[in-house]
Amino acid sequence: MIDILEGLKAAFWLVVSFDAELWEISLRSLRVTLTALVIASLIAIPLGTYLAVQRFRYRRFIISLINALMGLPPVVIGLIVYILLSRSGPFGVLNLLFTPTAMIIAQVIIITPVIASIAHQAMRELWAEYHDLLISLNTTKWQRIVTLIRDGRRNLLTAALAGFGRAIGEVGAIMIVGGNIDHVTRVLTTAIALETGKGDFALALGLGFVLIGIAIVVNLAIHTLSRTEREGRW
């Protein structure tokens, strides 16, 4: 109990004193995760929608694969990305290991299946609702996908936020591919792991509370944005 209080106190002081290092790693956390989120959404949302709209031979298999990938431990993904990006690996010449880009790549791989799976569920329901109309209007595949994405955007936002939550709190994979280098690849989660290792539970918890705070602020901001839009245009 005392530790949690100490943690809250540490978080409070870190925030009110505008701790420079805290700002740096918080901004890096956001930068890495939001970039990964945008890339993953650009892949996962059309993919999930396509899987809802189109029947084809390997559809079931791809859906199963996505669901299986969701259960893969991030550490394993981290190791695979490490091996690929290592200077002795196939993409070593790109020299991306231990950079924020490597962390973004790992996070994209981790959250794309999450977003695709939730998006697929949501789009399947919407497609059941729209199916007759869109068929009767003789729409093309592309028009169907665009219509579903546009009209299902609130559900897709939920899918994206689930991906965000998973990415911002991820530590195992980005520790391996980022290396937790101070001022380069240290983010909130790896800093928490580091402080826990040093036995500084108060600071670790404080960083944890900051992380929760950032997640809440991002969620609220995105929801507020989507609500303003509803009142304006709906």
Binding site: L30, R87, G89, F98, I181, D182, G197, K198, G199, A202
Partner: protein, 267 residues
């Protein structure tokens, strides 16, 4: 609102220019000591090198060197280092400094290690009392040193009962576990002094020369790939073995206790 988001994005993704960057894999115990916080700014000031530390166990540090993913390693496990150089992964091995390992245990010291005559004797006392003992169990330098002392005491770790907990974790995590179990643990002095969650633990035995913990600097073979900055590694080695580094290393103290002894051969 859009403008606000563009501004936010610009702040988030803006980059600044960097000096020369060099990657050094170091052990957890080195980083936990806090010495890096003294050395890094000095290196930046003297050499204009942004030294990027990858803080991992000795095993992983050597692995990163083997893959050519770092430019040099700073570790403390002589046998593994010699193998590393012999296999051609590193160009050579240069001793820099040493600190020492200590035995940490419950304040009550049920195994009476405080009166031990040597490190091996202290370990033997723990084993005969079957007092709870936490081992790193992660193939790190500290773990290897611990195993060395068990064997010098004539004991076989494989035959230990349930009092011996191999946690497979870093120094900090293992210390946290020992604090939770009120167990003995073998740690480096620096990590122990900087550890924040001492709980009911205390230093119970130290001082045997067998506990000295030699750190060595190993530049990675630049033939591995074109990205290895062996020029920077050489510059750093020169600096680490200089008088300036010696003063900083010998002068570093925690709670008034010096931690490291500089012992590089100055050329």
């Amino acid at each position: 609102m859009k403008k606000l988001m563009v501004t936010a994005a610009a702040v988030l993704w803006s980059q600044c220019a960097m000096a020369d960057e060099m990657r050094l894999a170091v052990t957890t115990s080195f980083d936990n000591s806090g010495l890096s916080e003294v050395l890094l700014p000095a290196i930046k000031a003297d050499l204009d090198i942004d030294l990027q530390l990858l803080v991992v166990g000795t095993g992983q540090a050597l692995k990163l060197g083997e893959a050519g993913d770092v430019d040099a390693v700073l570790v403390h496990s002589k046998a593994a280092e010699d193998t590393f150089v012999a296999a051609g992964h590193g160009t050579h091995r240069r001793e820099i400094m040493y600190n020492d390992f200590v035995l940490i245990g419950p304040k009550a010291d049920g195994a009476d290690t405080a009166n031990a005559t040597s490190a091996a004797d202290a370990f033997a006392r723990v084993a005969s009392a079957e007092a709870a003992f936490v081992s790193r169990g992660d193939d790190s330098g500290t773990h290897k040193a611990e195993l060395g002392i068990w064997s010098s005491a004539g004991l076989e770790v494989g035959g230990f009962g349930s009092w011996y907990h191999a946690v497979g974790a870093g120094m900090g995590a293992a210390l946290n576990t020992a604090a939770g179990l009120d167990a003995y643990i073998f740690a480096d002095r620096a990590s122990w002094l900087n550890f924040g969650n001492k709980s009911g633990l205390a230093l119970t035995y130290s001082g045997d020369p067998a506990l000295f913990n030699q750190y060595a600097f190993l530049p990675v073979d630049p033939a591995k790939n074109a990205n290895i900055r062996s020029d920077l590694a050489m510059k750093l080695e020169g600096w680490l073995t200089s008088r300036r580094a010696a003063d900083l290393i010998n002068g570093y103290e925690i709670n008034g206790e010096p931690l490291f002894v500089f012992n590089a051969v100055v050329q």
